[in-house]
């Protein structure tokens, strides 16, 4: 799956808040078109890592480049080249589907007649509900609308923060179908999730605990590194170690 071209390069990435080190000397590389999972218990440094990669936080040490832009020195370029879908529904509930998409099209500098809104609705299976208020849609529809506005500007990298939390199985299946389509076309997907069955099907994974990178590789490689068991076993053992 992975082309040779690395789209994200992370080297010695560190974030300290006062005396507390949230992310400690983390390094990995992600290739174009990969679905890459960042896993770990709550407080393991997942969110901080992603916030740094999105250009929202400046690293205390180390460096990371995302789609050719340095997160520490070129956060604005980073933001223009990535998409981000937050865990909580981050779009406007009092706007319709179309209004939300028009808003994000404008924010990313896409013309109203660029055809990207129509593309997004088609690709995200939102065809017939353009004038529905976002607030009254089902969980699955909300999730696909959020993905649509995160991908309208054709970002090279999309960050998905627990994208399927609170969504029914049918909607989850449709969502991953869409994600795999987009990844196959070359968009890199960085995903955090608590569903280990989903993680089993990612291309590669990174496991974090207490800010340290424990393992990185394909699901099979990661399981071997931890000496066997399922991903869920690994996750639970890491969480117990935390507590």
């Amino acid at each position: 799956m992975s082309d040779a071209a690395p789209v994200i390069e992370v080297q010695g990435l560190t974030k300290r808040f006062g005396k507390f080190t949230a992310v400690d000397d983390v390094s990995f590389t992600i290739h174009r078109g990969e679905i890459f999972g960042i896993l770990g218990p709550n407080g393991s440094g997942k969110t901080t890592t992603i916030r740094m990669l999105c250009g929202l936080m400046t690293p205390s040490a180390g460096r990371a480049s995302v789609a050719g832009a340095d997160v520490g020195t070129q956060p604005d370029q980073v933001k223009a080249r990535i998409g981000y879908m937050s865990q909580a529904f981050g779009l406007y509930r009092d706007l319709t589907v179309d209004e939300n998409l028009e808003f994000y099209a404008g924010v990313y500098g896409l013309g109203r007649d660029s055809g990207r809104i129509a593309w997004a609705k088609q690709a995200m299976r939102l065809g017939e509900i353009g004038d529905r208020l976002a607030g009254v849609m089902s969980g699955g529809q909300k999730q696909r609308l959020a993905l649509a506005s995160a991908m309208m500007h054709e970002p090279q990298v999309v960050f998905l923060d627990e994208p399927t939390a609170g969504v029914d199985p049918a909607a989850r299946r449709m969502f991953w179908e869409i994600i795999r389509e987009r990844a196959a076309e070359g968009t890199t997907m960085i995903v955090t999730t608590h569903y280990m069955d989903e993680a089993e099907r990612f291309d590669r994974l990174a496991f974090l605990t207490r800010g340290h990178l424990k393992a990185v590789g394909t699901p099979t490689e990661v399981k071997q590194a931890f000496g066997g068991g399922t991903l869920e076993d690994i996750f639970v053992s890491l969480q117990d170690a935390e507590a």
Binding site: A80, Y84, S86, L91, E102, F103, A105, S149
Partner: protein, 374 residues
Amino acid sequence: MNLSRLRSMIRKEFVQMRRDPATLRLVLIVPVIQLLTFGYAIRTDVRNLPTTVFDQSHTQESRAFVQRLTATGNFVQRGEVRSYAEALRQIDEGHVRAAVVIPADYAQNLKRGRTAPVQVLVDASDPSASQSAIGAAQLVGQRLNLEIVQSRVGAATTIGQAIDVRVRPLYNPALKSSVFIVPGIIGMILSNILIIITALTVVRERETGTLEQLIVTPLAKWEIMLGKIVPYVFVGYIQMTTVLVAGHFVFGVPIRGPLLALYGATFLFIVANLGLGLFISTLGRTQAAVSQTAMLFLLPNVLLSGFMFPREAMPAPAQWVGALLPLTYYLQLIRGIVLKGVGLTELWPQMLALAVFAVLFFWFATRRFSKTLE
């Protein structure tokens, strides 16, 4: 600077505003309700001003004058005094709020066709209360004049002024009128509503999680801030115009000065308040917390800006706090322009103060906003 991004942000705010009828009502109807409440409250509480009389004439004519005065309902006679000094002391000590001083030669002057001066002393420290009393006293004088002059015409005597009622407002010689309150209401409504609405709009985006999505886009912090306030500049202008027009037609507030200067000053004032609202919004994480913080700013606005009480009468610390409020300067501006008819040549220091507030608050807000996102 990216206009397309900013325009999207502004358009979005307008659509959201339209979807939120409760806020629209707050924005459009509350100013009118406040105007009517304040405006009428001030009209009704000025009746029955306790008044003493220093009648040196002791004639039927002088008693008739006092009677006419009390018949207006503005004055209620509370005893008599025997000297001018005693009249002043009674007002000083607050036993009465007005005194009628009738000279010894009052009736004689009237009979001989000379002008008969009468003095009415009014405690004008509460300008809204004293104004209608003063007006009433002058009106009584004019009416009596007319009657007396007409009767003299019948008697073929010279036409002239018969009674000269001279009102001496004590403590407040600038004679602030009751229309004084309406421009003040404009300032207070703009300030309070705009601060609350902007403070809530940012924190609402934080609470609902939409802010998290916004900040990962190429939108700059100040673009988000500016996009939030531009729609409310329009709202502010609509509110101001509504109250000004209503005040003009309902309460007869004159608009003497240049409207352009007024709208220019209002722009700076609106931006300063929106900046303050944005700043307040960065001080809390929930709408409840932020509205509490906003209240902290609103009370001084009402009490210390000169809206309710003249600033000259306040102790120094209260004046210092007042000097930190944009409303203080705007009140001077709008009262100067609307009531006195002066322009920006006289009022540029206040304009400058508002401009400084606008820039400072916006700058503070953007800085704090960035910090709270980390």
